[in-house]
Symmetry: C2
DNA sequence: CGTGTTCGTTAGAAGTTATAACTAGAGATG
DNA sequence: CATCTCTAGTTATAACTTCTAACGAACACG
């Protein structure tokens, strides 16, 4: 009964073709961005004609949604692998930057311009909280020798996003700061806003990371 | 001879129609994002049929480029007006956030996902440095009671982006931090990454701004 | 070895950007 | 004021896009 046994030869073939489609899609996105992704062009490169792809993805949007999901998963895996390999917050930061530089458009698929009406599917928000969980793990390992702030109190009252993670308010604040500050420098670097300004983006990233770790407030 | 006298009635009409086109384009972008911008739809809304718009913009890309230019100019004006009205760094920060919240897609037109091949036209980089100049003006007014850092030295060696502005290394660093950190929180807020997390994005923005101003390093 | 599911095909509808050729009207000029 | 020119908007068309429908052929399965 239609149950997709993962070992069925048809299912195996299907999964492989889906993967190949996504492969070509990633190349097109890396080359010219999401708006330039064309199902027709992907089909042409695969030596298959047009509507054949609709056997594998119901629509262009579904393909893109799948790529977004994969991007989230890739980042979550990168974080988790780095963390279990012993990386601290600094290690996670460099893992993040390396991952982003590896494919800037993949980063922007997650953190770039959103479509006004778009709502992320349930599972991506789940993966997103996995990412946050790893970050909180790393931040919890840091000592907090700094005084409380009003915003930390606010976070303590609104800590549902930590999803039960036993992090101190200081760790919550640190994780949030990690996220927003590194995203700030990284996204501007990836978008090319620093080109022609002279300084080294890697040094700015490192300086922000250092600030983040040796912070008092 | 063909010289566009700004008072020629034809030129006035032309400028007005161009403005109306851009007006409708902004509405479409605000509603569904840049990819959903359709010249045909704009023409339909204006009660005019399709190719008529090509008298006013050579291509869809040229229209978008013009909108980007206007977005930059709008931000530069907002900053300049706030500064001459006496706003300090805090004032500029809130002017920035208000401006961004007013039309998130306009913000993302500048700081959102870039198209891989795209190079901004010369004048937008000029407007961009006007924005930076205003920010440096405000940062120069702040006292810097903090010790030098290696990155500040690096900035001092690569201060061409300041475009001759007589800012101390501390002010340069402060301007850069203002930019990256506030962009970090703001872009994540505008993209909706904080929705459902519980805390108040405005408080996070204020906390980051406070950190920025009362910073030691 | 049938039998049915599924895959890929071609045809086509509805949309897009953009160009070409034409018409009608407005502005500029004598 | 008459005329001339230039331009704005029109329709037709090409080349693209996503996506649906109907068909044929190949493959897995009982």
């Amino acid at each position: 009964m239609g149950e997709p046994d993962p070992k069925s030869p048809r299912e195996r073939y299907r999964a492989q073709v889906r993967a190949e489609i996504k492969e070509h899609a990633w190349k097109q996105i890396a080359a010219a961005g999401v708006p330039a992704l064309s199902l027709n062009a992907v089909a042409k490169q695969m030596g298959v004609s047009g509507p054949a792809l609709y056997r594998y993805f119901a629509s262009r949007d579904e393909l893109i949604t799948e790529l977004i999901r994969d991007a989230y998963q890739s980042l979550a895996d990168t974080f988790r692998v780095a963390f279990v390999a012993g990386a601290d917050v600094t290690g996670l930061a460099h893992a993040l930057r390396d991952w982003a530089l590896e494919d800037p458009q993949r980063y922007f698929l997650i953190y770039g311009t959103p479509a006004p009406g778009y709502h992320a599917p349930e599972d991506t928000t789940r993966i997103s909280s996995q990412i946050m969980a790893t970050l909180l793990d790393a931040c919890a390992a840091l000592a907090s020798d700094s005084p409380a702030t009003p915003f930390r109190a606010h976070l303590q009252e609104h800590r549902d996003w930590a999803d039960g993670h036993p992090a101190t308010p200081a760790a919550l604040r640190r994780a949030l700061t990690f996220w927003t500050r590194l995203h700030g420098v990284l996204s501007l670097e990836l978008a090319g806003h620093f080109t022609g300004m002279g300084f080294d983006p890697a040094l700015l990233f490192a300086a922000e990371l250092d600030d983040l770790l040796t912070q008092r407030a």
